[in-house]
């Protein structure tokens, strides 16, 4: 159980764009009362004070350097709940695209002869380093889902994230299916919860919220091919956010 006093909440950032923390700040525009309900004790992007006593830890960004491990262990030891905040923390996010290429080549592309000067490994979910109690998916997170998650945590429960596909929400918004316009979309295999924002704005789902349980990926690949997408475009579409997830999926279903 979370204590009856105002729970202490901390935010941490690893490799990422800090857009999810900004979305948290933006939730205050419509829900300033959140500040009444919790005590924020660490939020480097917005505050100078720092307190190592916290019950709920929101962790943004990917786990990408061996040196991150120690800090993550400390967070895990201290917090009652560790919540992965956003796609980078949940599934590695776009950072994971580099995992598909040899790391030395990636380093040399950006840093040339000084490639070895910087510490960097594969971009992995936070759960690859420490056990995580829950995740809030998306790139960036959906602010309504964040508020729901905080309310649930304050009652001592873990937030529940939808495990049905995006198509459900897209239909509820009465959008015309983007495949009718030959626009590729990952909706059938991706977790809902974003109110189908991208498809409503005319862009096929890019998969930032990660796979639903038991996705039929092969069937979706066929659909995309039927709509004229080349194999390499299909791969580019699928891997934008899901390089790590697809690799895990391959291992589970087809052996390594």
């Amino acid at each position: 159980m979370i204590s009856t006093k105002k729970p202490k909440v901390a935010f941490f950032d690893f490799a990422g764009c800090e857009g999810c923390q900004l979305t948290v700040i933006d939730t205050l525009q419509s829900h300033p009362e959140l500040l009444e309900a919790v005590e924020i004790v660490q939020f480097r992007e917005a505050m100078s004070e720092r307190d190592e006593d916290f019950e709920i830890a929101f962790v943004e960004g990917s786990y990408s350097r061996p040196s991150d491990k120690q800090r993550l262990n400390q967070i895990r030891e201290q917090a009652k709940f560790v919540i992965a905040l956003g796609a980078c923390a949940h599934i590695g996010g776009v950072n994971a695209l580099r995992n598909a290429k040899p790391m030395q080549e990636v380093r040399r592309t950006v840093y040339d002869h000084r490639a070895d000067h910087y510490e960097a490994g594969k971009a992995l979910p936070i759960a690859a380093a420490i056990p995580v109690d829950a995740f809030i998916p998306g790139c960036p997170i959906d602010r309504h889902e964040f508020i729901r998650a905080v309310k649930t945590l304050l009652q001592g429960f873990l937030p529940e994230i939808p495990d049905y596909p995006l198509c459900v929400e897209c239909k509820l918004r009465e959008n015309d299916c983007l495949y009718n316009r030959n626009e590729p979309c990952l909706g059938p295999i991706i977790r809902a919860g974003c109110s189908a924002l991208c498809t409503t704005f005319g862009v096929g789902c890019e998969g930032c919220r990660g796979l639903i349980p038991n996705p039929n990926i092969e069937s979706l690949k066929e659909v995309m091919a039927e709509h004229g997408l080349s194999q390499s475009m299909i791969e580019a579409k699928l891997s934008l956010f899901m390089t790590n997830e697809l690799k895990d999926f391959e291992v589970v279903y087809h052996g390594s």
């Binding site: 857009g19 900004l22 992007e45 960004g61 790139c139 924002l197 862009v203």
Partner: protein, 433 residues
């Protein structure tokens, strides 16, 4: 005075707070001389140039907006311009107006975040904006209210502010309605009272008096306060077409930073609100000029702490500009149009925009629809050498001052530049011609 000089002064600020991304300040002096004075960039590398390589050009803007959560619209727009120039695409007037409108929205949003939530706590002697929610709730609510207008404008255009959805190569996949635009136009006009209060708040706060002249660089265009396209202009004289940006940025590697340093005509230069204000003063809206006067900011200001004041002037400028763009769009009537198709699938292009913290460049080489080389130079990377030059002079001028005050003065200096460290790090592909 020499006698009062401390023999040794050491400052080590690990992970500066209230800035975007991870940076350290390290200062070391001996016998009154500055031995070491660095802004260390320790952000985890993210390798965007490597990630962009071999991606279909259609993915580039959505990928590169993920470089930064604060300036996502500017990264997306700059990326789209680089792609469009490479592929021979001329966007329509409506597309250009909507993009400029979205850049104004992002500028307002980012500047309010910076002046109210990142800078103001220093001037008010508190550690963050959160305690203000109790002691002066009207100040916090005012900031959030203005930020929401800007965020809602961005959301009407792109679907959301952080990582816009509807902006695509050659145009938009979705348009705001006339009703959405006119209602936001009214809210922008209704912001004038909040803007006035903002000016009153900052008019009474005192900024450190440090001054150091440097080279100031910004985009410039005829008869507008330029945020998109145009040409590169320097306060030391000279203009450059955008595709010659490398003649201006001259990036080099330094040991203590995962971001590179830049220099043009002097050993360092400044980009951002103060540079734009100085170089494009004559193109400011009269309302913004009068706010500058009220805040006592003149176009020959050389105090980097006053970047914050220039940002307040730009909030007014961008609000006025947004109102006038909305009027123009409504007068034309928003009309659905398909994104313009590429005239070729191979080519090379450089895009440039003014991000809230300064000039941003994206440079792509595209072959058969795939990005084969990408280079991205961010404003913070360009400012780093200048920030360090300021830090050195600041430390040298404060040898006999209390250590805590100097540490705070240094942190405030770094914050004034509104650095976006996630953006600045590891953003260079040196294999370019």
């Amino acid at each position: 005075m020499a006698a009062s000089h401390r023999q040794r002064l050491e400052i080590d600020v690990h992970h500066i707070t209230r800035v975007e991304g991870h940076g350290n300040i390290v200062v070391n002096t001996q016998n009154g001389k500055v031995i070491k004075c660095e802004l260390q960039i320790v952000e985890a590398p993210r390798f965007f140039e490597a990630i962009l390589r071999n991606q279909p050009y259609q993915n580039a803007s959505h990928l590169s907006s993920r470089i930064c959560g604060i300036c996502a619209v500017t990264h997306a727009t700059t990326s789209l311009r680089a792609t469009e120039i490479a592929l021979g695409i001329e966007p329509t007037e409506q597309t250009v107006l909507l993009r400029k409108l979205n850049l104004c929205a992002e500028m307002i949003d980012s500047h309010i975040l910076h002046v109210y939530m990142l800078v103001a706590p220093d001037l008010l002697g508190i550690g963050s904006v959160f305690p203000l929610a109790k002691s002066a709730p009207e100040v916090v609510h005012r900031a959030l209210r203005m930020k929401k207008v800007a965020g809602d404008l961005s959301a009407a255009i792109g679907g959301r502010h952080t990582h816009p959805i509807a902006m695509t190569v050659g145009g938009f996949t979705h348009l705001p309605t006339n009703g959405e635009l006119s209602s936001i136009g009214e809210r922008l006009e209704g912001m004038s009272k909040d803007l006035e209060e903002t000016v009153n708040l900052f008019k009474d706060l005192s900024f450190p008096t440090f001054e150091r002249e440097t080279e100031y660089i910004a985009l410039q265009a005829d008869n507008e306060y330029c945020l998109l396209d145009g040409h590169i202009s320097s306060s030391d004289g000279g203009t450059w077409p955008i595709e010659r940006y490398q003649d201006v940025t001259n990036e080099m590697m330094v040991d203590h930073s995962t971001a590179k340093h830049a220099q043009n005509l002097r050993s360092s230069y400044m980009v951002g609100a103060l540079s734009r204000f100085r170089l494009n003063y004559k193109d400011l809206h009269p309302e913004a000029k009068s706010v500058a006067q009220e805040l006592d900011l003149s176009p020959d200001c050389i105090n980097p702490y006053k970047i914050t004041i220039a940002q307040i002037v730009e909030i007014v400028q961008c609000a006025e500009e947004a109102i006038s763009i909305i009027e123009q769009l409504l007068e034309n009537g928003l009309y659905p149009e398909d994104p313009v198709s590429p005239s070729r699938l191979s080519g090379e292009g450089v895009g440039a925009c003014e991000a809230p913290r300064g000039t941003l460049y994206h440079h792509y080489v595209i072959e058969d629809g795939l990005i084969v080389d990408a280079n991205c130079i961010t404003p913070t990377a360009q400012n780093l050498a200048n920030i360090e030059a300021d830090m050195k002079e600041l430390v040298a001028s404060r040898m006999d001052q209390p250590l805590d005050e100097t540490r705070l003065a240094l942190e405030m200096l770094v914050r004034a530049y509104d650095p976006c460290i996630s953006c600045s790090t590891h953003m260079l592909d040196i294999r370019f011609i």
